[in-house]
């Protein structure tokens, strides 16, 4: 028997038992539209790739990390100074987290500007937004884990903001902190969220998101005549291109991690004053800066509460996008959506920069 025959027989044996044939059949039907906006299709895949890197590097970090007030900072320092390539693994984890959130935002805006959220893809949009929320929660919880000054005070501020939520604020803040104040209980809690709760939620949501995309197929922008758009097979044509893009993303990630290793800062000390330059991660900066601008009282309401109310309403409008984007006659309010998208992107960009500079 030749090697090729042997391979074919082995493949057939596995196929008979696992039914990969059905999967291959499904894959062979998946196509990707080819047009001017095709490059935007890569961004979801890049987000997924970076998420995979987060899982791998996260597991590695867990081998040495210890989630207690006494040991957290020292264990991260140990990883960075004593464990071989520990600095690189941690640096990749931090950089990849930030790049992932950035790429997820790019993905979201590309979906908005190509109007890919429209029926029948409402659930894909909702699961994507939920994934973005999970990622932000990953960022918020992971930020505290090294237990350094900046992250400690940023978490105090962050959970304080949560406390101003009307009605449930106090309870929410207590739940997040595991008590009255940010301390050891917060650290173990955030650790549990970060390594168990959020990963499970993310996996389920990613599964749902991909399943929905498989079900509905890739969207083409509404201004294109779908029947006249060329397509490319997903497997292997698009997949190999995506692999090349991943290689590129990995190169960028590796270069950033090696050239600008993520800093550790100083160990958190609850009994010192907050150091200057306390600010959250960049993806919360726009909101952070907006809250800074609002006066302490607006009419009879507290300033924070007004800000949160405004963010809350904006978030609801944004999440519900697929449901109000169409006119009653079924035509798309594409100009309104595009305008809103541009406004939101500009607001986030400008206020993030302002929050960084000021």
């Amino acid at each position: 028997m030749s090697a090729a025959e042997l391979r074919a027989r082995a493949a057939g044996w596995i196929d008979d038992r696992l039914g990969f044939g059905a999967v291959r059949e499904l894959m062979s039907h998946k196509v990707v539209p080819v047009h001017a906006a095709t490059p935007w299709y890569y961004f979801g895949g890049i987000t997924l790739f970076l998420f995979a890197i987060q899982i791998i590097t996260g597991i590695l970090l867990m081998l040495y990390y210890r989630p207690t007030v006494a040991e957290a900072f020292d264990s991260v320092q140990f990883i960075m100074t004593r464990v071989e390539f520990g600095w690189l693994i941690r640096s990749i984890h931090s950089w990849s987290a930030n790049l992932m959130i950035f790429v997820a935002f790019v993905h979201m805006f590309s979906v908005v500007f190509t109007h890919a959220y429209r029926a029948p893809r409402e659930l894909t949009w909702l699961s994507g937004i939920a994934l973005l929320g999970v990622m932000l929660a990953f960022g918020f919880s992971g930020y505290l884990l090294p237990w350094n000054q900046i992250s400690y005070f940023a978490t105090k501020v962050g959970t304080d903001v949560a406390a101003t939520t009307p009605a449930i604020g106090e309870a929410l803040a207590r739940f997040l902190r595991g008590g009255e104040d940010v301390g050891g209980a917060t650290l173990t809690r955030f650790f549990a969220f970060h390594v168990i709760v959020l990963p499970l939620a993310a996996m389920l949501l990613v599964g749902l998101h991909l399943l929905l995309i498989q079900k509905t197929g890739m969207s083409t922008p509404p201004w294109m005549d779908r029947s006249r758009v060329r397509t490319m097979k997903f497997f292997p044509n698009f997949f190999l291109r995506e692999l090349m893009v991943w290689y590129g993303a990995l190169a960028v990630l590796g270069a950033l991690a090696a050239i600008f290793p993520w800093e550790l800062g100083e160990k958190a000390d609850p009994f010192t004053s907050a150091p200057a330059g306390i600010r959250p991660e960049w993806y919360f900066l726009a909101q952070f800066y907006t809250l800074k601008l609002i006066p302490s009282h607006v009419w009879f309401l507290e300033g924070e509460m007004v800000g949160l109310l405004f963010f809350g309403i904006a978030a609801v409008v944004w999440v519900a996008l697929p449901f109000w984007a169409s006119n009653p006659d079924g035509s798309l309010r594409s100009r309104l959506v595009t305008g809103l998208g541009i406004f939101l992107a500009a607001y986030l960009a400008v206020f993030t920069v302002l929050g960084y500079v000021k």
Partner: protein, 161 residues
């Protein structure tokens, strides 16, 4: 001569196909080599990361094991010797013994049995005498013995030179 020409053409065609195959196999080799090299560069740091760095705790040569009056004759206790346990035994009013408390069989921590006046490992029922030598059970080697000095009220255990 049309026949000759056609044979010439066909020779050229097979030559072309052969060159094409050669180029293809070269490209495959380059691609495969590139993928293999990048996989190696991903796994190398991971494997090195998995290898735990050597313990930072300096090896200890001497520890204070407590006070004389804390231990009655014909009794023993486990004390910390660096990051390993040691067994301190007060055999009689004046005679003291100390051993590494790590069983030479499978690393369980041993204890003193006052009834038999022997050292016992509960994991697999190994017995050592008060010189550390194996009496019965599976331990393959005797226990490492430490020196004991009584300085006033303090009992000090040290590694033998």
């Amino acid at each position: 001569m049309p026949v000759q020409e056609s044979s010439k053409q066909s020779t050229q065609r097979t030559d072309g196909a052969r060159a094409d195959r050669k180029r293809r196999s070269l490209v495959s080799w380059l691609l495969g080599g590139g993928v293999a090299a990048s996989l190696a560069s991903f796994f190398y740091p991971v494997v090195r990361f998995l290898n735990p760095p050597a313990a930072s705790e300096a090896s200890v040569n001497e520890v204070a094991a407590g006070r004389v009056q804390d231990l009655k004759p014909n009794s023993g206790k486990v004390v910390k010797f660096g990051n390993k346990p040691a067994l301190l035994v007060r055999v009689s009013e004046t005679e003291w013994k100390a051993f590494s408390a790590v069983c030479t069989h499978l690393n369980c921590t041993v204890q003193y049995q006052d009834g038999r006046q022997q050292i016992w490992c509960a994991c697999h029922n190994g017995f050592y005498d008060l010189n550390g030598a194996v009496v019965s059970g599976p331990p393959p080697r005797p226990l490492e013995e430490f020196a004991v000095h009584v300085r006033g009220d303090d009992v000090v255990i040290s590694r033998r030179a």
